[in-house]
């Protein structure tokens, strides 16, 4: 069998794909965090719980209402987004004038509530969600087998990330959004409804987390705790990349996923901690983050 650095190429490629898959999730979630942070100046701790909620909604839709994967991929983020809007209108909007830390604390409390509710209802063991029929099996690429569903996760997340980048950087709506981020008062004076944009941005960021959750559902077991461990890694990703740039978040997310995958091949013991170690190194060398601007 062909080997690179004493590692069978099959295993290397397999881990590389898995790395890209987890990188896709890092990218989608850190992108959502960055979009929300840009507009609302809060770190959305609920993000992990919303990712879990998205996956659970897909599973519940399948289990209780026979709603399939494709409708769930649309409906579940929609519900999560509406949930986010309700949270923003009923709670978050009262905190904008205060220290940013209160937003973090509030969303942390919400994350605990969501996690606790689902743990109470379904226990901590995972619920299986089957891969949609279209994505059963694998592509034979000659040097490796690529499971179709993994390929789909990477493609779908890249599409969503690119679409988000395009809307924010290249459209009129995005221009208004960036203006509102830069100077909300002045933008409002030009007749743009900033509070509405803030609300929709938060809803969109939440929906993005829900979408990631549905994508993840067939790949991993749907469990109430799936979000909380992931979100802390995503925080580290955000610290490494800095939240200043959309493309920066996407690239950092994907890159760290790949690094994590490679660590699993070469030094498996460190695979859970490698992202945090990189964060520590980046903090020493470039405290503002790779794509961040020091304020």
């Amino acid at each position: 069998m062909t080997e690179i650095f004493g590692i069978p190429i099959q295993a290397l490629m397999g881990q590389l794909t898995l790395g890209l898959v987890s990188g896709s999730f890092y990218a989608m979630l850190s992108l959502g965090l960055a979009v929300i942070f840009g507009m609302l100046n809060i770190i959305n701790f609920t993000h992990g719980a919303l990712y879990m909620l998205g996956a659970f909604l897909a599973w519940m839709g399948m289990d209780y209402l026979q709603i399939g994967y494709w409708p769930a991929l649309l409906l579940s983020p929609l519900v999560v987004g509406v949930f986010g809007i309700v949270v923003e209108r009923s709670m978050l909007q009262w905190l904008y004038k205060l220290d940013h830390l209160y937003g973090l604390l509030l969303t942390f409390g919400l994350a605990l509530m969501l996690e606790g509710l689902f743990t109470n209802a379904y226990g901590v063991s995972g619920q299986p969600y089957s891969i949609p029929e279209e994505f059963m099996g694998a592509f034979n690429l000659g040097f490796m087998f690529l499971p179709k569903y993994r390929a789909w996760i990477i493609v779908a997340s890249l599409l969503v990330c690119f679409a988000t980048w395009f809307v924010i950087e290249k459209t009129r709506l995005g221009a208004n959004l960036r203006a509102a981020t830069e100077n909300p008062k002045l933008t409002q004076a030009f007749g743009i409804n900033v509070p509405l944009m803030v609300m929709l941005t938060y809803g969109f960021g939440c929906a993005l987390a829900g979408f990631a959750g549905v994508l993840a559902a067939p790949a991993i077991q749907v469990s109430p705790l799936m979000g909380s461990n992931l979100i802390i890694v995503v925080f580290a990703v955000v610290v490494i990349g800095g939240m200043g740039s959309i493309l920066g978040s996407i690239l950092t997310g994907l890159g760290l996923g790949v690094i994590e995958g490679l660590t699993k091949v070469f030094y498996p013991e460190a695979s859970a901690t490698v992202v945090f170690i990189i964060m520590a190194i980046v903090l020493m060398i470039r405290p503002a983050g790779l794509f961040g601007k020091e304020k």
Partner: protein, 311 residues
């Protein structure tokens, strides 16, 4: 001033009689978490730094002290000291990294670093993984006071708490504490006045980590084990909750907050199961939305208002 001294004395008397009124182990748990929250408050309430990773210091000290006592066979006092030393060193390392970022990033960095420690403890051979480090003997104090007796241990824990509380009180009311408050209120101005803000922040962080470690090591001694729960991020969140609920930036707030939370958890644990997390989350949300000054802060504000009306 004399009136607040009177208040502290009354609390001390309550502390001395508490084991006869309540279950001693529960009161010891309250004291350990009160110390943990007071140490945390030094950072959040008086320096304005929100650390979301204090469980790392709590857990590290618990493991280090447990290992020192159980495996190395050190006497109890030296075991606790080993725990504090470990959390102090870790606090210095994490602090130097975390103070490079401000505000929200500071919280995320500390959370991520603490999660790294969690994974290390999960994999390290000496922690016992998911089972934890079990059956640590309490040993004796000064070689002749048997700490296996709950009442003896209680007064030892109370003494630790009072000493640490006094240290925190002195720190807050010292010139050093005034500089910390200045940094909390306006960092840029503190810099312009010539204070080496980074150094002050780091020192506050290390002190807070050391005392959080003392709390963790003491808690390990009370329960005779250290587990992953001590180092998990839920624990970091819980100490934030205790401090906010009691009132951050108040001397007694963390004590009140931790008492409420520990007693509540104790009461609810077998009644509502995993809904405890939901209740903790709801308290968080209510605190942040409705009373950000916390219990002690609100009472103090009310008291001031009443005085203002009278005079």
């Amino acid at each position: 001033m004399s009136r607040s001294m009177f208040g502290y004395l009354a609390l001390l008397v309550l502390g001395l009689f508490a084991p006869f009124l309540f279950y001693p182990v529960l009161v010891m748990k309250v004291l350990c978490f009160a110390l943990f929250a007071c140490a945390f408050n030094l950072l959040l309430g008086y320096t304005g730094l929100l650390s979301f990773g204090h469980a790392a210091f709590f857990g590290t000290a618990a493991y280090a002290a447990g290992h020192a006592i159980k495996v190395w066979g050190l006497p109890t006092e030296l075991g606790l000291l080993t725990g504090v030393l470990a959390s102090t060193l870790l606090g210095w390392a994490f602090g130097s990294l975390a103070i490079r970022r401000l505000g929200i990033y500071f919280a995320m960095v500390t959370l991520a670093l603490a999660q790294m420690m969690y994974f290390l403890f999960l994999q390290a051979p000496f922690t016992g993984g998911e089972d934890g480090l079990q059956g640590v003997p309490r040993g004796t104090l000064l070689g002749f006071i048997d700490l296996a007796n709950d009442l003896n241990l209680y007064y030892f824990v109370l003494a630790i708490f009072v000493a640490a509380f006094w240290l925190i009180y002195r720190t807050i009311h010292s010139p050093f504490g005034q500089v910390l408050k200045a940094i909390r209120e306006n960092e840029a101005r503190a810099i312009s006045l010539g204070y080496d803000v980074a150094k002050y922040k780091l020192l506050a962080f290390v002190l807070s980590a050391a005392l959080a470690g003392l709390a963790g090591a003491t808690k390990m001694l009370v329960f005779k084990f250290a587990t992953l729960t001590d180092a998990r991020w839920h624990q970091s969140g819980e100490v934030v909750l205790m401090t906010i609920l009691g009132g951050m930036g108040t001397v007694l707030g963390p004590v009140v907050g931790s008492t409420v939370i520990v007693v509540l958890q104790n009461e609810l644990a077998d009644k509502v199961g995993s809904l405890v997390t939901v209740i903790m989350g709801s308290i968080f949300v209510v605190c942040v939305l409705l009373f950000r000054r916390g219990i002690v802060g609100e009472i103090a504000a009310l008291y001031k208002r009443m005085l203002g009306l009278k005079t």
